[in-house]
Amino acid sequence: MKRIKHVFTSLPGWNSLMAVRIAWIFLFLIAFLALFGPLISNEKPYYCQLDGKHYFPLFTRVSESGLSAAHPNHSPVTWRNTSFESIWRAPVPFSHQTIDLKAEPYLSPLHGHSGEKRFRHWLGTDVLGRDVLAGMIRGCRVSLLIGLGSMLIALLIGIPVGSAAAYWGDKSWRITTKQFLLVGATSVLVFLIWFTPFSASVKILITVMLITGLYFLIRKRSPDSRLRISIPLDQLTLGVISIIDGFPGIFLILILVAIIPSKGWMVVMLTIALLRWPSMARYMRAEVYKMRETNYIKAAQVSNISARRILRKHIIPYAFRPVMITFIFGVSSAILTESSLSFLGIGLPTEEINWGRLLAQSRNNFDAWWLVVFPGCAIFFTLLSLYTIGNAWQKEQLHIRAKVDA
């Protein structure tokens, strides 16, 4: 119990404001629904009993058609209509794709309901007669997956690139002329190999061999040569960042998602990550840049600790916290982008349902206020929670900074 309490109190901003606590709890709720969504809303029951036999359809591969074949006298078996001897259904007995033929499309949550209360559509139905609540629960999963996933990819690219650019700068990465020539010669060779009339597997084999050979040749430090060539790491990074920043974000995402032939959340996730990593790298660069000038890093450098170790042990863990604030704001913007794309009907496959898709359906039928209110609220409160937490964390950091400076 104490440990659980500790987990909560160590969350950023938990102790500052009630609003932040509510925001965290809301996010935990969304995460819970995202993780256990299929257990909460599913047309398959957890457990059922038919002709004295026990089945666990949700956890095994038992399907309606399988049961129909096994029990011909009950055929066709449907989860909803067959009279099972005993059945234990999920709390929401609809999947996000279940089309409820008994309910009409655009069924309001307030009236028009008939039949069992167990199968009531608490948040109404959409254009095809799918349960909105089930769709909302599915939406948690899609939004969180794309929001967190794309920003994690952005983080994984942005942190190494940003910290390397700032720590080593333009002049630190020096290689001897010999090494430079070796790398040059190997790249020319690799380049040449791809145009030779060998088969593809032979080409790959030779390339791998060449690169391993180069690694072993370069690994040895050769301090003999005087002419040293420096690699402008910082300039290169800034160049790549400014190229990506030059493109208008939402336009480029739309075009990329339209060009890429395969549809799915992976494509959306990677596209968002491609556009977000520069901002992570820029923040990381700024943090590491400041930190590089501090005395304790200089002391570490003087005491001959390797640069990689300094970065790993003494810089990144401390520069990481301010960057996490950007991460949180980034997650919110990724969720916003994803739901905008879904709202426009681009990106995810058409049978996928999520908050943006539900909201978009309301544009065809303005009587369906439940399609405006519920998904919209879900997006709004998720974004609001993330902003609240990010803001509280930012304030906390400023506070710590002020204390350190004083």
Partner: protein, 473 residues
Amino acid sequence: MIKSLLKRFVHAFFLLGVISVIGFGLSKLVPGDEILDYLSIDDPRYSASANALEQREAYAAVAAKRGLNKPLFYFTVSPGYFPDSLFSIVPASDRASVSSWIKQSKQKEAAMIFYHDLRNGLAFVCPETASSRIADQCCQGISEIMGQKDLFSVHHRFIKLQNEIENDSLLTNQYVNLMAVYKEDIEALIKPSNGLSIAMWFPSFYWYGTDNQYHQWITGLISFEPLTSLIDGRNAWTKIFEALKWTLLLNGWAFMLAIVLGMAIGLWAGTHDGERLEKLINVFLFALFALPSFWLATLLIYFLSSGEWFSTFPSGGLGPYHSAGNILDRWRILMTHLTLPVLCLALGSLAYVSRQMKQSVMHQLIQPYVFSLRTQGVSEKTILRKHVFKNALFPMITLIGGALPALLSGSLIVEVIFSIPGMGRLLFSSLMARDWPVVFPILMMVATITVFAYILTDIVYKWADPRVKTLGS
């Protein structure tokens, strides 16, 4: 100053060059064959039922007209056993077949000769398809041979063709000669080549000069040469500039509203920090910041224009703007139709602007010069108006500069929802209809403005605050 500015401009042009190459690459990666898209506009009589020769000729004519039979870029690097004129084979399917033959046989001359013989054969047999059955069979057979990627299926299809026409009564000497030529060509291709020459082991580098597709594309963009939209055949630039007008109007309006209101609120909030009303407004603005614009738009339409609650405002479009008579009428229509979209766009940025302004004002208020002014007995009003306000404006320059590209690209969803015929909606509808000649100029236009907005911001900042020294970094 001038030197660093020049450096900045050179950097910007280099950046734009790279961006344009990426944009061109993307425009070539789009699914579908662009020449086929243009065919429906340039040659409406073109039909899939025409014979193989006519199809190819129509295709080649369009490709030549649009300059799509040129090499892609200034240079290419290809394996030594590839010819440098492969790009000139126009139907993309033929080019793929020939390149696959060369990959298999490693004999560029034999493959090119074979392809040219096939084309000559087509030119010979296809015009006679209507009169003789054998010509029809040949025409079809040859075009099918051209479609085969694998050399053995080429051979197979050829033998089938030979058998088909062998017993025909109309078999003339010309057909026999044609078949003999093909047989020779195919044998030359299939026969294992006796050793590759040394030249084939090195990639060959071909320089094409400025007569290439990228050069044509980028000079066309810079000089606003007419581009044909694939949907309606209109000039893409006309469509873009028509849309630009509406987007600038909509965004400019929203932008002004957000800046003016946001600054006022920020100034007030900065001086009244911690008061109850300020806290309330702060919470409200914070919530506004998190409000997705598409939800706000849907809510506004639902409550204010759908007739469910009120129908004060029209739900979208520009109404009878173009048919309205006098200017007064036009403005009235515009005002009623643009109020909701402007509100949607302004509210989101209002929160951001006022937040920045508040922080900036609060930062200025704790500066020593304010304290010194106060001790001199200058009234609080004068301090605020003459000193704090002016100094608090500096961060706004960066904010406004950063928002310049958003003037063009920021209102996509709002335009789509309210069906305002602006850039965002044009991009979206063109994208949905795969109308690439409209999509990529828009992308490049906004990218150009983004790159130059950064420089402009720097210049204005430097002009406003001469203490800012480094312009280049």
